[in-house]
Every structure is written in C-alpha cells, then in structure tokens.
C-alpha cells in the first residue's frame, strides 16, 4: 500500500493545497519506507491538479491524504481507484499514523475545477 500526502515547503506540514503543493510524501507500508518527491504540478502553467494527480497515478499510489482537492484532480484519481482521505491538522507523518489507525474519514467535498484562466 502506497500512501501520498501533499507536503508544504517545510517538508513536515501537510500542504493547504493539493495541485501546487511543493512536495509529496510517499509512504510505502510494505517496506515502511518514506520518500519526499517534488510535485510536478507545482510548476504547471495550468491544470496543476491534473498534473499532480497524474503523477500520483504513475507513482502507483493507493491512498491520498489531503485537506482539499479540485474536481479535475478528483476525476484523474478516481479513474485510477485512488482513495482520498481528509487530512487532520497535524504533521504529515502524524497523519499517516492516524490513517493506519483508521482515524481519518473519506474526503467528500471538492473544489469546482477552475479549468484554466486568461
């Protein structure tokens, strides 16, 4: 099982945003390994959420922990069957502990897709 969390610049807090989060923390429960990787969505011109979600699909992530998510990213994650849980206001690693203890709930509200601007 691979769990991803949108990470803030300081690499320890959960990012308040998904698509343009600075990093993802990817935790693999099999080897109990953690990896911090750059989020390619962070530097996207547009469609940052889509790029970030596409990245997680290609990283074979099974679960995403985040505060919020847009509809575009949601459709990419859904198509890959990735489950999305609402992160709590604690550090990223503490959120993994909460998830493993079954204490997080599924994210059930999503931001309307902005879908590009001028």
């Amino acid at each position: 099982m691979r769990i991803a969390i949108a990470l803030a610049e300081n690499k320890s807090d959960v990012s308040p945003i998904f698509g343009r989060a600075a990093y993802f923390l990817i935790y693999d429960s099999e080897g109990e390994t953690e990896n911090i990787v750059l989020n390619p969505g962070n530097s996207a011109y547009g469609g940052a959420g889509i790029r970030a979600a596409q990245f997680l699909v290609r990283q074979n992530v099974n679960v995403l922990l985040t505060f919020r998510l847009g509809e575009n990213a949601l459709s990419v994650l859904h198509a890959a069957g990735i489950k999305i849980y609402r992160a709590e206001l604690v550090g990223a690693k503490d959120n993994i502990v909460l998830y493993k203890a079954g204490k997080l709930t599924l994210l059930d509200s999503f931001q309307r897709g902005f879908q590009g601007g001028r």
Binding site: G46, I50, Q54, R58, N72, S75, H78
Partner: protein, 277 residues
C-alpha cells in the same frame, strides 16, 4: 490607423470611448474584442447582418490504437490530457488547440473533433462596421476568437478601433496584436494608476506605442501626471467625471450629440491621427 483601447482594470471607459470614437470616425471598423462580455454593439446599435461560428479542435484518442506511452500527456503544457489506468481523460477547457498531442503520438491514435466555442457578429451602421467576438458561456479562453478577429483587422484599410478586454493577460495580448497604437484609458486614482502600470509594462514588453486618455477626472492626481511625463507618454485628453455622461452610458447611448462632450472625442481623434502618421 489601428488603435486598441486597453486598461488594466475593468470599468475605466474603454467601450464608452471606443464606441463614441468609432461613430466620430464615421467610416471606421469597430471591433469588440472583449469576447467574454461584448457590449459595444449596444452603443453602436444596428441590425445584425451576419454571424460566423468559430470552432476549436479537441483531441480524441482511439483507445484501440493508444499504447499508453504518455507522450501526449507529457507534451501538453496545459495538462489537458491525463491517462489514469485504463482511462484517457480530456479536460476540454484546458486544451489550447495546438495539435501537439497528435504530432508526438507514435501510433496515430489522435484525431480531432470540432467544438463551437463562440461566433463573430457583423453589423453595419451607415459607414461604420461593427464586428463583435462572442465567446460561449463556460469557455475558458477566447484567444481563438481573437485570432479570427485579427485576420479581419489585418486585411482592413479603414481606421480600426479595437475595444480590448480589461487586464493584461493572454486575451489582451491577442487583442492588441494588430494594433499600431494602444490607447490606455486610465482612472486618476491610486487603483487606476496601479493597474495602468501593468499595461504600461505589457505594451513596453510587446513594443507597442502607447498613448493615454484619463477618464473620470476630478481634481488632480499628480502621481499619474508625473509618471506620464517621466515616461514621455502622450496624454490625449482628460474626460471629467460627470453624472450626465455616466447616465447616458448606462443607457448605452453615445454622447457625441452633446457639444460639451464632442470636443473630447475630436481631440482624441485629431491627436491619434497625428500620432499614427
């Protein structure tokens, strides 16, 4: 002469000045390039003569031919495509119609479908032609409509007055492409001045000539005057903040029949012609 009226923010009076100026020119082509909310034809009222649909092309991927190599997904700078397990996802409003995805596909799996994103409208009031771009509600980008308008502007020999959208983004850049002079409509306030500086930077970056009309003048705003002087930017006129002008404009009426207003537009016209010589 091809002049584009621009402003860093909305509501400074681009349409007010562009439509009155178009009427004054008598034989001008007025182009409403504010395709998200084109309202110039309300001022230059005339029967609609012709409409022309404008399309964009959306990629369509054949699931049979696709080998899931991600080349199209990685190529798209706007992330309009995604590949999620067995699903190929297209986000139509993000697509910029560049056809790059088809060019990089090793399988020839991409074809295109046409989607109407808006239309052009042509009206005629005596010698004045009114051309409006109309973007469909829900579309994210009107740049393709502006490219169509630009083709027509390019071929035009009469004076052209382009009523640009507000701001300093992609649509403004597209709207001023064919203009040989930009006319910034500026409000003499701190907010108006701050917005003006963004379009000043834009016209500098694109190498466009810039002149200014100050609209809704009341009292003095020294900072703007000093800036125009320092940058050597011609100020063609200042139109005062007047309730009667606002009322007429709110009713989509022109103000040229008012002798006290006519002078401002004649001054703009005279100076524009001199500048574009």
């Amino acid at each position: 002469m091809k002049v584009a009226l621009i402003s860093g923010k909305g509501g400074t009076g681009k349409t007010f000045i562009a439509t009155n100026l178009a009427r004054l020119f008598n034989n001008a082509l007025y182009v409403d390039a504010d395709v998200e909310e084109p309202n110039g034809s309300l001022f230059l009222n005339a029967p609609l003569l012709e409409t022309q649909a404008v399309y964009k092309h959306l990629p369509y991927i054949s699931a049979k031919k696709c080998i899931k190599c991600y080349r199209c997904v990685d190529f798209c700078a706007f992330n309009a495509l995604a590949l999620s397990k067995e699903c190929i996802l297209l986000f139509p409003t993000l697509c910029h119609d560049c056809h790059g995805c088809a060019a990089v596909c090793p399988q020839g799996a991409l074809s295109y479908m046409k989607k109407e994103i808006g239309h052009l409208e042509r009206r005629q009031v005596k010698e004045t032609t009114v051309l409006s771009g109309v973007l469909n509600v829900g579309e994210a980008s009107g740049t393709i409509l502006l490219e169509k308008l630009n083709e027509l502007i390019k071929a035009e020999t009469r004076p052209v007055i382009i009523d640009a959208p507000p701001g300093s983004g992609c649509s403004v850049m597209a709207a001023i492409e064919e203009a040989d002079i930009c006319l910034a409509i500026v409000e003499p306030t701190a907010f108006g001045f701050a917005n003006f500086k963004t379009i000043y930077a834009l016209t500098q970056a694109l190498g466009k000539r810039l002149a200014v009309v100050v609209n809704k003048v009341y009292g003095e705003f020294k900072e703007l005057e000093r800036f125009l002087q320092a940058q050597n930017l011609p100020c063609l006129t200042g139109i005062p903040l007047r309730k009667d002008i606002a009322l007429k404009t709110a009713k989509a009426e022109l103000v040229l029949d008012d002798a006290s207003c006519l002078g401002y537009f004649e001054e703009i016209q005279r100076k524009l012609l001199r500048l574009s010589r």
